[in-house]
């Protein structure tokens, strides 16, 4: 799943540490989310969306896996 988290965070001028503190997660989790290495739980996705006052769909992009 892709996301625009890094782009949105940079637009708002927020540091990874600040976002991590606000969401009560580790800074590494923010880094992993931004790199697409980790997909958040629905709860964390809602927390992120609420923090930026956006919808989940505006931040996270669901792409269906192509059949082999």
């Amino acid at each position: 799943m892709k996301n625009k988290l890094e782009e949105i965070r940079r637009q708002r001028g927020i540091k990874q540490e600040e976002l991590a503190t606000a969401l009560e997660v580790s800074r590494q989790t923010i880094g992993s989310l931004e790199n697409g290495r980790y997909n958040p739980s629905i709860l964390l996705a809602f927390k992120i969306a609420l923090f930026f006052d956006m919808t989940i769909e505006e931040i996270f992009i669901y792409e269906e896996e192509k059949p082999c």
Partner: protein, 138 residues
């Protein structure tokens, strides 16, 4: 697991009691009991002291305490911990089977092989029980 300071104080006392109790097993036949008590006691004391030092440092520095709580409750860290535990459990399962075969190869007493096989079976039944439990819960 994050525990309260009092838990580690109790563990420290239990560890000291175990080591203290080991001195009462002077008899040659009771040596394995004394050895076990010293081992358990030393383990408890070491773990308690390490955790009490950490708690003391966290108390002096509330930011550190907050950060360690965040790190502990962080969902990615929880996922990593659970995945690591599950994979370590899988590896241990095969090691237990390996040990069972080694006990057969070295002609160890039957009860040793049976004990190892029982541990293997407990692992499997515990897994099945937990799968069933979580399927009902989720």
């Amino acid at each position: 697991m994050l525990k309260k300071r009092s838990f580690y104080v109790v563990m420290l006392i239990v560890g000291m009691c175990c080591i203290g109790a080991s001195f009462f097993f002077n008899d040659a036949n009771a040596k394995p009991i004394a050895g076990s008590l010293i081992g358990i006691g030393a383990g408890f004391i070491g773990m308690s002291i390490a955790n009490l030092i950490t708690k003391h440092m966290e108390r002096k520095n509330p930011t550190l305490e907050k950060q360690s709580q965040i790190d502990y409750n962080d969902e990615r860290n929880i996922t990593i911990r659970n995945r690591a535990k599950a994979e370590a459990g899988d590896i241990t399962q095969w090691l237990i089977m390996g040990i069972a075969y080694i006990t057969i190869l070295i002609s160890a007493p039957l009860w040793v092989t049976l004990a190892v096989v029982i541990v293997f079976l407990i692992y499997h039944f515990a897994g099945l029980y937990l799968i069933n439990k979580y399927q009902k819960e989720m």
